[in-house]
């Protein structure tokens, strides 16, 4: 078998497998091929982890959102070696895990729920059930009571109802954090009540609301932001104006919660997580956006192994794959731009890493930052070059310089009031150090023109790769039809045998003439 037939055979097998699985998914499981045809839903996963205290019985109770009561909502609990059931208590729905005998170890439990995008998840009014809640006044005394009263009075003067009071109270506490009353109250909570620094705002806020006659309690929410990664529960405060309960974020007291940004996980005052027989327990949320409908998703997840692929993974693992499946697309762009267009780049796949960084920080911010780092790094590299260092120490020195540059740049821009520069750390540092190293060599050997051309070429390739990876349809295919990567592989193999001219060569040989 010649190498050519072998190639064609491989290409055909890859294409048939990839397209075959995709068609199977489309026809049999009904997964739409085009990004426009779907409905969006959020998949929220709560991961409870705790350390078992001793080899004894363990009970874990996790409060669930009210949506879990809806039998049509997709939800499941993962728990190896634990019994699990949903318990409908007076203070809301809870997922209860229990085990009699577990090993001394860190244990993880999962609970996933799927929320349709249009579902009202915000903290808007909920009718007060049962008897109207009664505010309980906290036990302040002496100077703290005086301070608290002053704070409440000042807020009351500029507010008309519970909503506006809430806003003004928290604005006062955050904006005038140096005012006498706030400082005094904070110190009281720190010393007397032993409340940790990050919790003071919530504890103090709830106490002050209660003192002003507004029933209030703690609630928890989840940020609906896939880029946030695993997140701690977001603390919120729920208060009642007598008729309804409303949830707000005390950090943004003047903004009503928007259901597309924040999903209120539990309200009603019951604790989010209770673990009996374990310690160091915590709950972490991961959120991803699914762009295909619930029943299709269930079809997919119960489909044979080859069709389900990464959708079968826990949410936190899937979130990682969000970018991983895009890397081959970047590599594909590099192959096209180098072997067919003929753009010179520094380091073959460096542009892909650059493009991944751009996905998180937008090229408009990324390119100037990259340019500044490389330019300044290059300057220091030339200072180093007179010292005759060996290669590895030289590059390591570059890594240190690049790190310091990142710190300095973040600091300066922070002082100047430019936000978001700390995203600079998304750049792969080692790659930047190597870029600087290679650029300085090319600079010395082939002149600055070549060096700058190659860096500009890398940048161009990175931007094109970014633009390609950013296309929603491409992202959709990469995530729900990863088998199409086989088709991509076939295309790369074919380009690997492309012997025609690069577009840059059409220009290079423009003066070619037979004489």
């Amino acid at each position: 078998m010649s190498s050519k037939t072998r190639l064609i055979l491989a290409v055909m097998v890859l294409c048939l497998t990839g397209i075959g699985i995709a068609i199977y998914k489309n026809r049999k499981l009904g997964v739409p091929l085009w990004v426009g045809e779907q409905s969006t839903s959020w998949l929220v996963e709560a991961k409870v982890s705790f350390l078992s205290a001793e080899e004894g019985p363990v009970t874990v109770k996790l409060s669930l959102p009210t949506i879990a009561e809806d039998p049509n909502v997709g939800q499941e609990a993962g728990s190896l070696g634990f019994g699990n059931f949903l318990d409908s208590t007076q203070s809301g729905l809870k997922s209860v895990w229990s085990a009699n005998q577990i090993s001394l170890d860190t244990h993880s439990l999962y609970y996933r729920v799927r929320i349709p995008e249009r579902y009202k998840t915000g903290g808007s009014g909920e009718q007060v059930k049962g008897p109207a809640p009664v505010a309980q006044s906290p036990g302040f005394s002496g100077s703290t009571e005086k301070a608290a009263k002053d704070l409440i009075d000042r807020s009351r003067q500029v507010s008309s109802d519970a909503d506006t009071f809430f806003t003004h109270l928290f604005l006062q506490m955050s904006q005038d954090s140096t005012s006498q009353e706030t400082v005094l109250l904070r110190r009281h909570y720190e010393r007397e009540e032993k409340v940790s620094d990050e919790n003071i705002l919530y504890t103090m806020g709830i106490d002050l609301l209660q003192m002003a006659g507004i029933p209030a309690r703690l609630a928890h929410g989840v940020k609906l932001d896939p880029a946030a990664g695993p997140q701690e529960p977001l603390k919120l405060i729920e208060y009642s104006d007598g008729a309804t309960w409303t949830v707000k974020n005390p950090l943004q007291p003047n903004v009503s919660l928007r259901s597309e940004n924040i999903f209120v996980w539990n309200r009603g005052g019951s604790s989010l997580l209770e673990v009996f027989g374990g310690e160091n327990s915590k709950v972490v949320f991961t959120v991803i956006k699914d762009t295909i409908s619930l029943e299709r998703m269930d079809n997919l997840r119960s489909a044979p192994f080859f069709a389900a692929t990464i959708l079968e993974l826990p949410v936190s693992e899937r979130a990682v794959f969000r970018y991983v499946v895009l890397i081959p697309l970047g590599a594909f762009v590099v192959v096209i731009l180098r072997n067919i267009v003929g753009i010179p780049t520094l380091g073959t796949f460096m542009p892909v890493l650059l493009a991944l960084a751009f996905l998180e920080m937008k090229p408009a911010a990324g390119i100037p930052m990259f340019a500044v780092i490389v330019a300044v790094g290059l300057y220091f590299r030339f200072l180093l070059s007179s010292m005759n260092l060996l290669v590895v120490p030289r590059v390591a020195a570059c890594v240190v310089i690049v790190t310091l540059l990142m710190v300095v740049m973040s600091l300066i821009s922070w002082k100047l009031g430019i936000r978001g520069v700390s995203q600079i750390t998304l750049f792969p540092m080692i790659i930047i150090a190597w870029t600087i190293e290679r650029m300085s060599l090319i600079w010395e050997e082939e002149g600055k023109r070549n060096a700058i051309m190659q860096v500009a070429g890398s940048m161009l390739v990175a931007v094109v790769a970014y633009a390609f990876m950013k296309i929603p349809q491409i992202q959709y295919w990469a995530q729900y039809f990863p088998e199409l990567l086989l088709v991509l592989l076939a295309a790369i193999l074919l380009i690997g045998r492309y012997t025609g001219y690069r577009i840059s060569e059409l220009h290079r040989f423009r003066n070619f003439s037979e004489s």
Binding site: G342, N388, L390, V391, R497, Y498, T499, L506, F512, S515
Partner: protein, 328 residues
């Protein structure tokens, strides 16, 4: 026939008609199938190439010294006392990187062909840079080679500004397919890289006469600095040059390679280095697409496998001459 777009580009069809070989074709059709990876080290390390060449009795510039440690560098000057001129280069360098030519001495100082002077400290510094791997592929530690400095033959110094011109012969399966002379200009600063402004001068394989010269891709007839004519110059001992090239193929076993030679006034042609990835600029210098020369060799190899070296040279001289005969 000139078209408006020729100022900016040529269409693939036009290039194909002229037999121009692009990088992709060179790599996929000639380089990868014919040059097994394991043979590369024979040519990437000049010490290795030189040893192979000497085994075959090829003329190479005499090695004065090989430096491999700081100690070698410290005693280098004592050993070089008897030599008025020499060349220092990295064993694993490529594209002329890190090559230092010393033309003569002036008291304690070393003088380069351009006239600039080097102190002995600066000479040692250069040697240390080579050892540290500043010029070698991948930046690994390297050896420095100090060797005889070629005094180019008079015909060649007439057409090169300061730097010594070298001859590049591209070979496929041991058949010479194309040759060119690279001559330095003021702009190229003694270097022989075409994209840095050196002249590329095509040579007829049959006769060793220069046929055409290009500077920055444009045809020129006279040297831009020296004003000497560039076409119709006879390379001395052309047959011997072709023999050396063919022997280089046999000793390295590379199917597709470029051989670089220099012609010394007294010693004649000397093999300088062998390149496993020869560039494509040679087509520009000759005004002939490489494919027009490579394809006949591919066909010939099929009909006449294992031809002797003399027969291969005869084939190239007859069928791959500057004006390609209509029928083969």
């Amino acid at each position: 026939m000139s078209k408006w777009w020729h100022r900016w580009f040529r269409t693939p069809k036009e290039l194909r008609a002229m037999g121009v070989v692009g990088i992709n074709m060179r790599n996929a059709r000639f380089l990868l199938p014919n040059n097994p990876r394991k043979l590369y080290q024979r040519v990437d390390n000049k010490l290795c190439t030189k040893a192979l060449a000497e085994e075959r009795g090829l003329e190479v510039p005499q090695t004065y010294l090989v430096l491999s440690s700081a100690h070698d560098v410290s005693i280098m000057e004592k050993k070089l006392q008897e030599h008025e001129s020499f060349v220092m280069k990295p064993a694993r360098g490529s594209g002329g990187k890190g090559v230092l030519v010393i033309d003569h001495r002036d008291g304690d100082h070393y003088v380069k062909p351009s006239g600039s002077r080097l102190s002995s400290a600066e000479l040692r510094h250069h040697a240390e840079n080579i050892l540290a791997g500043l010029f070698s592929l991948g930046g690994n530690r390297d050896h420095a080679l100090v060797e005889y400095r070629v005094t180019p033959a008079k015909v060649l110094t007439d057409i090169s500004f300061q730097g010594a011109p070298d001859i590049r012969i591209v070979m496929l399966h041991g058949y010479p397919v194309m040759a060119m002379l690279r001559a330095a200009t003021k702009e190229s600063d003694g270097r022989a890289n075409l994209h840095q402004g050196a002249l590329g001068i095509g040579i007829d394989l049959a006769t060793g006469l220069t046929v055409r010269a290009v500077h920055h891709g444009r045809i020129v007839t006279h040297h831009p600095d020296l004003k000497s004519p560039l076409v119709g110059v006879q390379m001395p001992q052309w047959d011997k040059i072709l023999e050396i090239a063919v022997t280089c193929h046999e000793m390295t076993e590379l199917g597709y390679l470029g051989v670089d030679l220099m012609i010394d006034e007294t010693k004649g042609p000397l093999m300088i280095e062998v390149n496993a990835r020869p560039g494509l600029a040679i087509q520009m210098a000759n005004g002939v697409g490489l494919h027009n020369r490579l394809q006949p060799v591919v066909d010939r190899k099929k009909t006449h496998p294992n031809e002797s070296s003399a027969d291969r040279i005869a084939f190239s001289q007859k069928f791959l001459a500057a004006k390609l005969p209509q029928k083969i």
